[in-house]
Amino acid sequence: MPDEETAPDAGDPVAGESAQTGGASPPAAPSAEPVMSAPPSGPADAEEAAAPEAPTAGAERVVTETAESAVPTTRDAPTATAAPPFVRRHHWIVRLTHWVNTVVLVGMMASGLQIYNAYERFGIRGTKLPLPNPLDMHPVPRWARLGGWLAGGLSWHFFLMWPLVLNGLLYLGYLLFSGEWRPLLFRPRDVTPAIEMQKYYLRLRREHPPQGKHNALQKGAYSFIVVLGMLSVLTGLSLWKPVQLSWLTALFGGYELARYWHFVAVWLFAAFIAVHVILVFVVDPASLRAIITGWYRGRFPSHD
């Protein structure tokens, strides 16, 4: 996500090159950077091959919807005024799970805040967890709540947890079986590129570091949000069944701490969503169309 801050920079070397015509090959790797290893060329492969990660990735990758990628020109008709062509960006499973998650996650947060209102502090009674809580002893305003009262909030929360988990599993399952996890997973080798990327944003470095489908900071953001989702679900389970799943509750430091981590996750989600949405509108509005229709036509076609 932070990568999208590069948008205003027209000289962005990565944004500048891409499979804009649907047939151009991404440039050869400038270095030993594996994410930029030379891809196979050809119209059908251009987009998918933009980011083969591991040396074996090309062979394992499930190339999806390449047929559509190959014929983007048919989609160009309405805006043929020298605009770049549409490129296929998001598989329907990614789009579906993104929007289901949007609705369900907002519902989970709002119903969770309704539940929080019933006891708006942390720590066993008579004590207080020595951890920051901006909402300590403060009720959550009505507009941020779902359920109307505690039982309503619980009903929503305990219903929405099912689509939240199933949707998350569908998304992760898709990433796993399609190989799409490769350009998304932040690994130790991404640490240095992430630092370079950060330097670039801080204007401590002139040229945009080489990257594949996503830059290292994006990988960090999209890996982090999956970990955050897992943390939310697991802390949630540990709060739902602190006796039957006492090992899980203990793992989070006990019921009161698990409740705190569950709550911290809400703020992290809220922060992520805020930055995510702001960057979409400020930096790359075309990505909004892409996450709805799957087709992208904007300044970062190579980012997929």
Binding site: A118, W143, L146, W149, K241, V243, P285, L288, I292
Partner: protein, 237 residues
């Protein structure tokens, strides 16, 4: 969608989103969705019953970890603390689908095998507190009255304005489910449900019926005071 003018699309999406949020804020689900949510709660009860282990015990704490008495709230649904007109005449009526129904006086209950533990209380509101409870394991009382095989649920009724709780039999027979007559080494206080209350550290607080009056074994799932209003029926931890 592709052809839709972007500005108009975004405006429309923003308007739809805002109006959806506007109607959802502080909203309970309305007449249509609320019953469906409550019906779904039955699915969660089913899952909870499967997750429940008859042998998994809630953790016990040293008495030094007790929450100060003043910090442990007591509550009742009646306007005033429910009190008996004639405490000496109080009997726990145990009946329903049993071979030997019994009316048990408090001294008879106190004479039964005693269990005491210091455990964490989990309120549905999200707070926790540690206290010591003592009483007779419910399964001891069950063995006394000999439930019929048809009995699958237990209904606990109180003299607190009709407050009651329906329980599944496996949860009731759990070794830590007790009919408690002592709190923190003292006889149960009126705001904690004197003279006798149900207690279990494997259930949310509202499942532990205070001011007990009657225990009924049944084959039909009994509701409960909070359960009928939308709180989870199983309420298991």
């Amino acid at each position: 969608m592709i052809e839709l003018d972007r500005r108009r699309f975004l405006l429309g999406a923003a308007t739809a989103g805002a109006s959806a949020l506007g109607t959802a804020c502080g909203w309970g689900g309305g007449r249509v969705l609320s019953p469906k949510l409550m019906a779904w709660s039955g699915v969660n009860d089913w899952v909870s019953a499967r997750l429940f282990s008859g042998t998994q015990r809630a953790r016990e704490y040293p008495p030094a970890r007790r929450t100060p008495d003043a910090e442990f709230p007591g509550y009742h649904v009646s306007d005033d603390v429910p009190a008996l007109v004639d405490p000496a005449a109080w009997r726990l009526r145990v009946g329903g689908l049993v071979r030997k129904p019994a009316d048990l006086a408090l001294d008879r209950i106190v004479a039964l095998p005693r269990v005491s533990y210091t455990v964490k209380h989990h309120c549905v509101e999200g707070w926790t507190a540690i206290a010591t409870w003592a009483g007779v394991p419910f399964h001891v009382v069950a063995e006394l009255v000999e439930p019929l095989p048809a009995a699958r649920y237990v209904n606990f009724r109180s003299f607190d304005s009709g407050y009651s709780n329906g329980w599944d039999l496996p949860s009731a027979m759990h070794p830590q489910t007790i009919l408690a007559y002592a709190y923190n080494d003292r006889p149960l206080m009126p705001d904690h449900g004197a003279p006798l209350r149900l207690y279990s550290p494997t259930k949310l607080g509202y499942k532990s019926t205070k001011y007990l009056l009657a225990v009924e074994f049944t084959d039909r799932k009994p509701g409960g005071y909070w359960e009928d209003q939308g709180y989870p029926w199983f309420g298991g931890l």
